[in-house]
């Protein structure tokens, strides 16, 4: 696969802070690349630099190996779908989608053909004459994507385009976007603060925090093996423990839990454990398991995603435990004491500054 986008040591300094701090990565042709981070992490700044709305302070951006230094947005082979969608309210659907083609000075029949092709692809055939203000949220979304895709960009940049949609529609659009990207083969660079969007759609995800990439990996690796405490906490759900002491293979948490974690060559102070890593009533013959007893505080029923909020004796800190979909545990109720275990590989320890 070719590198379609290369970002080299890119930084952006503003008067009083650094928004993007020496970021370095590449995106492969046809990939779905997400930049995931909390608001204020610099992901929007990074995207706007790629689109050309902001100049970089240091470093370089290359598209198909060509430096984009000094190239204005209208001349970059990228198009962007804005968070607000930015559909032109005084134009109808057709005029919106045709806007960029007209700027390329294509012939009218060619424009008509491309517009109706693209509207067909996003499932909006017959909507040409509609005012954009008359469309539903999902339809507007698709018009915005069509308007950018019709330009046949090398890279499509998407700035949290699902943010304004309601939950149900968002779930639906996630799948639709992913399928559309597969079908078209266009490279997507997608920024979001919603880890579930990123995990579902992306081939590669960069987790960004305070202007830097914490980890760049596949969704699976990101979830299974978060390299930093931030990634562990930000991607997926996890229980955070503060480590107060380590003696050999035994670590002691602030809550007084003593857990077995061999093979650490540093002094960790933070530990993350996923809710589904806990095993209810572990069998005695399981190896490398630390066990302890918790008391059920509440059952957070959420269908397939039901969890137990539990307390370790003598502490107010909650531990969330995923409840397997198993009739065996239906009898559990609030106040019950439960014996749980966790495998040593599922204890992710970090040194956080």
């Amino acid at each position: 696969m070719d590198k379609i986008l290369e970002v080299k040591n890119l930084s952006k300094h503003f008067a009083d802070f650094t928004s993007v701090d020496e970021v370095d990565f590449f995106v492969e042709e046809g990939g779905f690349f997400s930049i995931l981070g909390p608001s204020g992490c610099g992901k929007t700044t990074l995207l706007r630099m790629i689109a050309g709305f902001l100049d970089e302070s240091e470093g370089d951006i290359l598209i198909r190996g060509k430096s984009m230094k000094g190239v204005p947005p209208e001349n970059r082979p990228v198009n962007i779908v804005f968070q607000s969608l930015a559909l032109f309210p005084m134009m109808n659907v057709r005029e919106n989608v045709a806007f960029g083609l007209k700027r390329k000075k294509l012939k009218k029949d060619e424009i008509d053909k491309k517009v109706s092709d693209m509207l067909g692809r996003v499932g909006l055939t017959g909507f040409e004459k509609k005012k954009v203000t008359e469309l539903s949220g999902g339809q507007r979304q698709r018009v915005a994507i069509a308007r950018s895709l019709v330009m046949e960009p090398s890279i499509l940049l998407l700035d949290e385009p699902l943010g304004a949609l309601d939950r149900k529609l968002r779930e639906h659009m996630k799948v639709e976007l992913k399928l559309l990207q597969r079908e078209l083969g266009t490279t997507f660079v997608y920024i979001t603060h919603d880890q579930s969007e990123a995990l579902v759609m992306s081939d590669k995800i960069a987790v960004m925090n305070k202007g830097r990439f914490e980890q760049l990996d596949t969704p699976r690796n990101l979830y299974k093996s978060p390299k930093t405490a931030f990634v562990a906490g930000f991607v997926g759900e996890s229980n955070k423990f503060v480590i107060t002491n380590r003696e050999g293979d035994t670590i002691t948490t602030k809550r007084g839990l003593k857990l077995n974690k061999p093979g650490i060559d540093f002094e960790p102070n933070i530990m993350h454990v996923r809710p589904e890593a806990f095993i209810l009533y572990p069998a005695d013959d399981l190896k490398d398991i630390s066990t302890f007893e918790v008391k059920i505080k509440t059952i957070l029923f959420d269908g397939s995603n039901t969890k137990l909020a539990t307390l370790v004796d003598g502490s107010d800190d909650e531990i969330l435990i995923a409840l397997p979909q198993n009739a065996q545990f239906e009898s559990l109720s609030e106040g019950d004491l439960v014996n749980i275990g966790v495998h040593q590989d599922d204890l992710k320890c970090y040194l956080e500054e």
Binding site: A51, F53, V78, N79, F82, R103, S148
Partner: protein
């Protein structure tokens, strides 16, 4: 039930003064004028229904000539006001910070505070043969003879522009304020040049504001009296002056009233044509 009753009482208490004001001060006098515009003396010297007052306008080329001149200048001043104020409105809403903009808008309001008469005299001091500008230009030796600026169409247009400009800035600003910067970025992302963004995005987007500003300025200018009368030159006959002279100099209230209604009708007609030509709808203008 009780609540509903008291709501009704409050409703009537609020609406009655408005209705009274409308009927007594606006509707009734206009009906009176409308009636007198259709009254003229017959050969026996008695008042009777007649179209004579309206015919007087069309039969005398001075009258409709003056109207055409007035309307032409009003259109010109309106366009000029747009060309001058649009960049100002854009600058105030999109370029500088809100805080500074507030201060500059306050400066723009000054001409309204001091009143039209004062600003008109201000222009006289500036533009006269021995006024500030000529004095300065002659002082630094650019010209030897004063330039004739006062009492010309130039000074009249300046005065008209000055008093009406603000009414163009404000509605344009309010539409531009709602213009999301992402529209501009999206257009430029789709390959539009600055000029295209201006003509295809910014102008169409602010059209409702432009149209309402243009209507206000046009009506203000076509109905103004002071600036054409005092700053205008010796040929600057304005249609309002003719209405004034019908009422006050020749005491021909019938013709005066007819001319007043013609001004209303013809200027509304011009606005209607302008809306049609630009593809705008009046209902959208208020938004």
């Amino acid at each position: 039930m009780i609540e509903k009753k008291s709501f009704n009482a409050a409703f009537w208490l609020l609406i009655v003064p408005v209705l009274l004001w409308l009927v007594l001060l606006i509707v009734l006098p206009h009906i009176d004028l409308l009636i007198s515009s259709f009254q003229a003396k017959n050969s026996a010297g008695e008042m009777e229904f007649s179209l004579k007052n309206y015919m007087a306008f069309f039969n005398n080329d001075i009258y409709w000539g003056t109207f055409m001149r007035t309307a032409g200048y009003a259109i010109f001043v309106t366009m000029l006001a747009f060309v001058i104020t649009f960049p100002i409105a854009f600058y105030l809403t999109k370029v500088i910070s809100k805080k500074n903009a507030g201060f500059l808008i306050l400066l723009l309001l000054i001409p309204l505070w001091v009143g039209e008469l004062v600003t008109v005299y201000g222009w006289m001091i500036l533009l006269g043969d021995h006024g500030v500008i000529n004095h300065f230009l002659m002082g630094i030796g650019i010209i030897n003879e004063p330039i004739n600026m006062l009492y010309t169409d130039f000074s009249m247009i300046l005065g008209l522009l000055y008093m009406s400009m603000l009414f163009m800035v404000v509605p344009i600003m309010s539409t531009l304020e709602s213009l999301d910067d992402s529209y501009i970025e999206a257009a430029s992302d789709l390959g539009a040049t600055k000029w295209t963004i201006f003509t295809k995005i910014i102008i169409p987007y602010s059209m409702p504001g432009i149209v309402s500003g243009a209507i206000i300025v046009f009506m203000l200018v076509i109905g103004d009296y002071l600036a054409p009368n005092i700053l205008g030159g010796k040929s600057s006959l304005w249609f309002t002056e003719q209405i004034y002279s019908k009422f006050l100099q020749t005491f021909n209230w019938g013709e005066g009233a007819a001319f007043g209604f013609l001004l209303l009708l013809l200027s509304s007609g011009i606005i209607w044509i302008a809306l049609k030509l630009s593809g705008q709808k009046l209902e959208r203008v208020g938004q």
